[in-house]
Subunit: 595 residues, 2 copies
């Protein structure tokens, strides 16, 4: 394939925002309880759906057409002035989105945001990613920065930086990684030396900086990890600084892009090498305690990355479904389904095509439900009147964050691959968008903490701190309720089985992990997978119950999808559980020189 000049093709895309399912999920997972909180009185369900409808029209019209061009043309690094040009159409798509005001919908009213519930802004997030994942990363990064400032900035810092970040006039970044310091941020070398005016002088290099440089906004505000002169070694000597591209007096600051990476996907998202040469920075939060600030930012980011798995699953599903509804090959194995006025039947009659489509759809909707559930608890954790509920909700969010980040992104990747398989050869070409989705999603299991780092967070931080209890109580409560409903009886056994497995394996990990941390390392990823299937089971049982209660348009489908999930996807849990039980021996007995 030759990429030179205009010698590329863009696909015909079939994507509609999944508003019908979003409406179902918001209702099913308690949007009305969120809207009933004092802080969200302007956002009843009808208002929320109105917003979603508007935003989706905008995104499908303005963002979606730029997605493939972004992939084909990519970003352009201009060594002369160290600038980065985004692909054609990106700036206009971004600017117009800023104009709509929807970019600011989830932000605090005191900084000119619209104060909408997270449950609503998360669903907007899904559609942003589905229509242009690369472009969506720009407001995504700003979001994390805003959250950090909100929690750790001084009033002056908030007043200085937040309004234009909230409006989208400026964009944010996270500058963590250095060549020698990736997963291991304790190895960060970048230095920050206090200056007389109270600011700091920063020097060092950062890599993998998403939207580190671009032409979308007037200014770019970097959040940078660095070490003060008196910093202790390791992770406890990291501080956090704001380093703007342009200082407040309008002069150019000493932070420059020195190159962009050539990646497998997200070609419209610049991944920059950033060099700081006496850049002026401003300390955020306490000295040496920068990781606290970074964790706020990263936790936000991790949920958004998880959402990428959902979004590109949905987008790929729609493409594959469209193809399956229109492509005719061979005859149905069931004579009654044959359309003899055509030379062949649509491939949607073939059991394996349906199986692959339903595998994508049932996991996609499991993810969407769980995302809504997590978002509700984010809203509760910040806005609920009952402090105990806030704590419970916070525990649920902390527990689910690593699972959503990992399990959604791994599944999202597999789903794009299944969607391609439905389409055969043409799915492998630029004539369809699936191959781009597959390349775009594959970074998600890597960035914002690899999926194994998430698993270590789950096992090493969340389990010992008892973050599992609030979710476990909700899970058991749901099963107990559903046990009384005859139509749900077929789903109870697997849900109970999943809980039993989780209990067994959590006990195993707590008993052995303290004695031998290598066991945790060896099995954490597979343990997270077991947990992931359990959360999908929870999501489907909850949706099935809601479907019965609500008598919704989708109710019949939801019961069928739950059935498909429990029979054709859920059994995957057993393999992962068996592998957890294998422990570490066969892994660690292999000598280094035997690899």
């Amino acid at each position: 394939m030759n990429h030179e000049g205009a010698n590329y093709i863009t696909p015909t895309v079939h994507y509609e925002a999944p508003l019908k399912d979003i409406a179902f999920q918001l209702k099913a997972f308690g949007y009305d309880d969120v809207a009933a909180l004092d802080d969200f009185e302007d956002y009843d369900f009808e208002t929320a759906m109105g917003v979603l409808n508007d935003v989706s029209e905008f995104l499908v019209e303005k963002w979606l057409p730029t997605n493939a061009i972004g992939d084909r043309v990519g970003v352009q690094y201009n060594p002369g002035d160290q600038s980065v040009s985004l692909p054609p159409g990106f700036k206009e798509a971004y600017d117009k989105y800023v104009e709509t005001g929807y970019l600011a919908i989830g932000y605090p009213v005191e900084y000119d945001g619209e104060g909408a519930p997270h449950m609503l802004s998360l669903m907007i997030g899904e559609m942003q990613i589905a229509t242009n994942k690369s472009l969506s990363m720009c407001p995504g990064l700003s979001h994390g920065l805003i959250s950090s400032l909100k929690e750790f900035g001084t009033q002056e810092q908030k007043d200085t930086w937040m309004p234009k970040l909230v409006s989208g006039e400026w964009a944010g970044t996270m500058c963590l990684t250095e060549p020698q310091a990736g997963t291991d941020l304790g190895l960060v070398y970048t230095t920050a030396v206090p200056k007389e005016n109270g600011s700091y002088n920063l020097n060092g290099s950062k890599i993998w900086i998403t939207f580190g440089e671009h032409d979308l906004t007037d200014n770019i505000i970097h959040l940078v990890l660095a070490r003060l002169p008196d910093a202790p070694p390791g992770i406890k000597g990291i501080s956090t600084f704001i380093v703007p591209k342009f200082k407040l007096d309008g002069t150019r600051n000493g932070i420059y892009c020195s190159g962009v990476d050539h990646k497998m996907g997200i070609h419209g998202s610049p991944t920059c090498v950033m060099s700081m040469d006496d850049a002026e920075g401003y300390l955020i939060g306490e000295p040496h305690k920068g990781m606290r600030c970074m964790f706020v930012m990263m936790n936000e980011a991790r949920l958004s990355v998880g959402l990428e798995g959902l979004s590109l699953s949905e987008a790929s599903y729609q493409e594959a479904l469209y193809f399956a509804q229109n492509r005719r090959q061979s005859r149905s194995l069931n004579r009654e389904r044959r359309e003899m006025d055509h030379e062949a039947d649509t491939i949607l009659v073939h059991p394996d095509v349906r199986r692959q489509l339903l595998r994508i759809r049932s996991t996609t909707e499991a993810m969407r439900g769980l995302a809504c559930y997590a978002a509700k608890h984010i809203d509760f954790s910040h806005h609920h009147s009952d402090q105990k509920q806030r704590k419970k909700s916070d525990d649920i969010v902390e527990l689910l964050t690593p699972i959503i980040k990992s399990f959604f992104t791994d599944r999202g990747f597999l789903n794009t691959s299944d969607a391609m398989q439905v389409c055969g050869g043409i799915g492998y070409t630029q004539e369809m968008s699936i191959e781009q989705h597959m390349r775009d999603i594959r970074i998600a299991p890597i960035y914002e903490g690899t999926n194994h780092v998430q698993a270590l967070d789950l096992v090493g931080r969340k389990l010992p701190k008892g973050k599992i209890f609030a979710f476990a109580a909700e899970y058991q409560g749901l099963v107990a309720t559903c046990k009384k409903i005859e139509e749900l009886s077929e789903f109870i056994a697997p849900c109970e089985e999943a809980f039993k497995l989780l209990t067994e394996l959590s006990t195993y990990l707590q008993a052995n992990g303290m004695k031998d941390p290598e066991i945790v390392g060896a099995v954490a990823s597979e343990y997270l997978n077991v947990f992931g299937y359990a959360t999908f089971a929870f999501s489907w049982l909850h949706q099935a119950r809601a479907a019965l209660e609500m008598n919704h348009d989708l109710s019949k489908q939801k019961i069928k999808l739950a059935r498909f999930f429990f029979r054709h996807v859920f059994p995957e849990i057993y393999s992962h559980a068996a592998i957890v039980r294998s422990g570490k021996d066969a892994i660690m007995d292999f000598a280094a020189d035997e690899f």
Copy 2:
């Protein structure tokens, strides 16, 4: 990412031909028995290893450096003369390979081939794909054509076409698919009308034609599916024709490339749209019985495609291992493994990195063993003195072909993804070759019959014809032998369990599949997966036994790898088996308008 001009980067590649393991596998799976056959008296084990050593040096030196350039630059379609230019370096790499004579090593001596055993040429095939998958497809296609000619050509046809195909002076293609006829070849429209001179006049369009046009060889010989005027409808009205690009009198024939596809990977392999406008063709085999000829060609091709999963797993493993041995991040969880003279330990100390590497390696070596085993039986089926053994071997090859094609390619794709995960962000960039391998391998589950088509072949053709018995007897024989060996005792239970599962599920399919073919469609792919894990179990039990017997350099590692496989990979079989048992109801009860 911008692809314009020379603005791309090529990776530093770490690949060595895995000669040590190849030597082990050839010994373990009975190369000496093949070399003892009369037809292979020139190819004892030492000779074979000498050839492999020579070929690997050539391929690493001449082919490997062209692989990334092929990906970055791609093929160029020139509309002016409807020609296709391959990427820089490809022609030289191909020509020099032809000069070595190794391209012809596996072909019959009577057509100037070297008559080497398939077991040897298959291992050469692995290295060709690993060093340049795109380029390897050109001799790969010729290979299928040669096999078809050998079986169905007249003596005159053989004499006319084979020598230059064997030498590599000419290249072959397979022209099957048309826009409306992919999996369903019964829908082929291309027509062939008899001419007075005994040849045929062909008109029609073909798509997805690999190496349909290129600048590597003086002539391109197409094998084309078409319909004679009196052809019955459907698959029973297909005939096969030879259609050369240049006729024997040197005039240009009416078959032209009208475009190339823009694909996710294999950018160095032209995927062509071919148009025939009164092209002259020559019937091969009997009228209307073209599918027999195609099946010979396709079966060859299917094994080669399976090999792609093995080759790119190996190549990706080596990259990931090199990275893991050199990248330092964080400290070992085991204090004794820490290297305190470095700021951090190599990531090879981390259990999850090892787990991922061992998952790739244990499945890669399972595949290589099984490929050797299948190749031995190909050799037996054509060259063994005992006709009963020929029949048994033929059954084994027929049974394993769909499994090798599907299971190897699915696993190969997952392995490239695991390898990328080991490397983190850099694995996602063009600085490493893994992202290319991932894109290159993803076509393999699609072409030469999608993996589900393979599963239908396994369940619909191979099981009812009793093709399972010869392999089942070998499997049970191996287990019975190994039961007596104490060091292998830990591997017996899973091998017996796999056999039990296969028996149960085969019985289920035979009992229900006849009554309701939709059940076969619904579960065939997962049944093939169960079979796949059973063949890997067979491969590892066989290798473990051989390791004990041979007291080879690799023996200790082999036992450890077998242990890893049975504990950390094999349990995946349970999920697939559970899903087979779920049958078709949840899939087929979903109405078409509910998707």
